[in-house]
Subunit: 264 residues, 2 copies
């Protein structure tokens, strides 16, 4: 068996209704489960974002700012529990298609340091993949050795896993067609970049440093920045619109699809 | 801060309606959350059993027998998901009392070997305790290096944690008053044993070896057998009826309570 997995990230804005707290986009989740089933890619690791589940609670208790007072502890747990609820919906949809999806909360086996992955216990994840399960991880409230706790994004997890598990491919499903030359939501002259090189990716990351920089990629600078390490290590990454039917199935199979391909 | 935790095991027959699939005993769960809150014991680690959540699914897919066919993979996941649902109920009840309960699924950080704990990643658990959270673990379907997967009981986890975390006290909440001289459910002459020594515990374990042995403790031989290692290492264990109001609060505080005390 080929044990180089495909890593699939499903954005929070794809699987939830971002404007409505604690509301999944059930139609999208069910369709995506069907596409994943149709793609028949194995081994596969799925990571999903928080969308309207994790973010409102995390924000209310200022979890991303780290531990400042004991009252936040309950908020930490509530943020995690909101994500458990979303994960159950994703896992159940995959199970409904006969796929052996297996929910794995990062907070149980990852510790960050100033928000970056510091400790990642991979034994159970690897064992799950070898057993034939499809691990389903997610952005989560996690413990942090420096700041007490932190928010670990699904993007960071996906990029980390792609490197650590030597992924054959990293597919990032988002709610736009890919990376643009300008923000497509505000600038009609914006054009989709079909290919990005590592050098271009690094140049974009340079922009993140600036204090008042405008995110010309349409909110994707953070994602771009996470992709540098896996792409530098030879993982092919693809950013694709997961809200458009058929895209994720094609992307998982490595077939041609509209999106932004990022290669070393 | 004293970092020797109290470990509290809540039996599946206490927190669920054992005869009704997927039915929590909400009244008991809520009362227990209140008792845990009143006890003000810190640090605390809670472990709960599966009762009518985990057992029916695990049994349907023969998860305890290990991996024999791919169809079981979905059953493995469903068993785990049933336990996630029960864990959410327990965690939510504790959160409702203002306690920072933090659900941690053993399947994400424990691997067994022929059903016994073989690998246990404790970093996140320890970090959670140090941060001030109350980890809530549970009996779970877990990966097994020999048999593919296995059922890891809440009893085994509690006993393991009591040793590994150098617990100050191990409280086992069950649906009877403790260990009896005979099965109290069938034998009216059965008397409650208020104290058990390590030697007596070992003698009972000897009975487990026999092929046609009758479990004279009223179904508690397995539990007794798990308690040998922690008691041998100096952990004081107490078996107490968690269905009788007030018992768990007293037991957590180390106050006098009707039950079976097991000491080296």
């Amino acid at each position: 068996m080929n044990l180089r997995p495909v890593v699939l990230k499903l954005g929070g804005s794809v699987i939830t209704e971002k404007a409505k707290p604690l509301t999944p986009n059930l139609k999208a989740v069910k369709r995506l489960a069907e596409e994943i089933s149709d793609a028949k890619v194995t081994p596969l690791i799925v990571v999903h974002g928080g969308g309207s589940f994790g973010h409102p609670v995390a924000s209310m208790y200022k979890i991303a700012k780290g531990f400042t007072n004991k009252g936040q502890l309950v908020g930490f747990s509530k943020t995690h529990e909101a994500m458990v609820s979303l994960n159950k919906i994703v896992v159940q949809s995959l199970l409904d298609k006969g796929l052996p999806a297996f929910g794995m909360p990062p907070s149980s086996f990852v510790i960050t340091k100033k928000g970056r992955i510091h400790f990642f216990q991979e034994e159970t994840l690897k064992q799950a993949v070898e057993t034939g399960l499809i691990p389903v991880l997610y952005g989560d409230a996690v413990l942090d050795v420096d700041t007490g706790f932190a928010i670990l994004s699904g993007d960071q997890i996906s990029a980390f896993l792609a490197v650590r598990m030597k992924a054959e491919r990293l597919v990032m499903g988002v709610d736009v067609d890919g990376v643009y030359t300008a923000d497509p939501k505000t600038d009609p002259s914006a054009r989709l970049k079909r290919h990005l090189t590592l050098a271009e990716l690094r140049k974009m990351k340079g922009q993140v440093g600036g204090a008042t920089v405008t995110d010309v990629t349409g909110g994707m600078l953070g994602k771009m920045s996470e992709l540098i390490t896996p792409v530098a290590q030879g993982v092919n990454a693809l950013i694709v619109n997961a809200l458009k039917p058929g895209n994720i199935c094609k992307a998982l199979r490595g077939e041609e699809v509209i999106g932004t391909r990022i290669e070393r």
